[in-house]
Symmetry: C2
């Protein structure tokens, strides 16, 4: 998917909501556990109930890998289901990968070709040659970790590294990489006040913003400091939406929570 | 596996060799492609031919994920085969994971419980709460990226961050985390001269050292600067060993290459 297709979808739906599909078998409704593939059945129901309210889905790979082969199979079925039934949705493999060049190429193949996601999250620690292999894929997007939503972000990301915080070094340096136009960035909603500075460095890039909801981030603040002329934001909510109910009405309850955010977003978009 | 069991095995075999199982279907012998699971058959043959020469195996997860479900299945069969037949071998999931706390717990379950690896590589960018969930597992080891073997290591890892290079900040800070005794570190062989400084900060920790062989690192230099009283090194070679031949003699050729390194290591151990 191209960035302009994503922007078009945002304007059409008046939503820049991304729903995180972080499926934990201990948290989903009990009646689904009888199904052959509870994870996929859960995702399918959530997607069918919410696709008109959001523009992106973001399965976090950890939650699938934890269930081994069955988990990976559920991930594959989930992305195939979304791509087949809702091809207008932007898909994010939240995988936080990154390795030496020939290895990053294999990760890129895994998520862009084998699983056909539109984008993947990547960690910047190993530098240019660990990220550029992802950037060579046409109409695919690499979402680089810049300033994450957790407390540990203050351990290294905000350290002053030769005149500016490390996450700003990451933003500035990554702009010089080959095919940098395929970069987006992760910036946590819990650090909304940093967004004004971040927009100075990358005014045009899309930001994936986790941390609204369960982690305590505020939507209004994120939009105030982070929105640009093309919206430029994907606000993710995972637990706050998908675990709204543990009963048979779980999909409806998720849609209701998603709708609350979508209404708020429509107001902001004006 | 405990660290002292690993040290015992190193002394018994006079080897601190780790063999990287980075299986690329374009590089393995053609006759294996007829097998139902070529990746597993390749690994099985390599492991059977080399297990007496090395102390660890390190599958890189990217090479398995790139083949989707079949790849993940081959990874599962490989770790199960090693654990069943050669339980004395230390196993490393080279996965370079790391995410917010509840997600890192899921990754830890994936690699320590579902796949039963002894260790996993983890990226430090997201800080303490992204790494500590891995450290809570008893007799499991978390191998934190410090200074990697690639050129991109100089983009951020060697930046001066408040008085010292970022990778040194990572080493020092990580020593203060809960269950830090379960940490090991990745330090690339291509930067052997940095090892003297690194040993000042973490004299006792095991180091996983990639980059000998295909990437140009030198074994003698690594040992000169990096070895401690308990050896404290796992030297990884992947492509230089497993792709020594593309013919039917590939396993024998791999053993021959592994033996060259083991002989050199035995001499160093004295």
């Amino acid at each position: 998917m191209t960035t302009s297709q994503l922007v078009q979808e945002i304007k059409k739906k008046k939503s820049f909501l991304c729903i995180g599909l972080d499926v934990d078998l201990n948290k989903i409704p009990e009646h689904l556990l009888k199904e052959e593939d509870p994870i996929f059945e859960f995702n399918k129901a959530i997607v069918d109930a919410t696709h008109h309210l959001c523009v992106a889905y973001k399965p976090n790979t950890a939650f699938y890998e934890a269930y081994g082969l069955k988990g990976w199979s559920a991930l594959e079925k989930t992305i195939n289901y979304i791509n087949k039934n809702y091809p207008e949705l932007f898909t994010i493999a939240d995988a936080k990968r990154g390795d030496i060049g020939n290895t990053s190429t294999m990760y890129a193949k895994a998520f862009f070709e084998d699983l056909a996601f539109d984008s993947v999250t990547v960690a910047p620690y190993m530098g240019k040659d660990s990220v550029e292999p992802f950037l060579t894929f046409k109409d695919k997007h690499t979402i680089l970790l810049a300033l994450t939503s957790n407390q540990g972000a203050f351990d290294f990301q905000t350290k002053n590294a030769e005149g500016k915080e490390l996450y700003k070094q990451v933003l500035e340096t990554s702009k010089t990489w080959n095919n940098a136009q395929n970069l987006m960035y992760v910036v946590g909603a819990t650090k909304a006040e940093f967004l004004a500075d971040i927009r100075q460095i990358i005014p045009d890039s899309f930001l994936l913003v986790p941390g609204v909801g369960a982690q305590g981030g505020n939507l209004q603040d994120v939009c105030k400091y982070g929105m640009n002329d093309s919206v430029g934001l994907l606000i993710n909510s995972s637990r706050g939406i998908i675990y709204a109910s543990k009963e048979t009405d779980f999909a409806k309850a998720a849609a209701s929570k998603a709708s609350e955010l979508q209404v708020e977003m429509a107001q902001i978009l004006g």
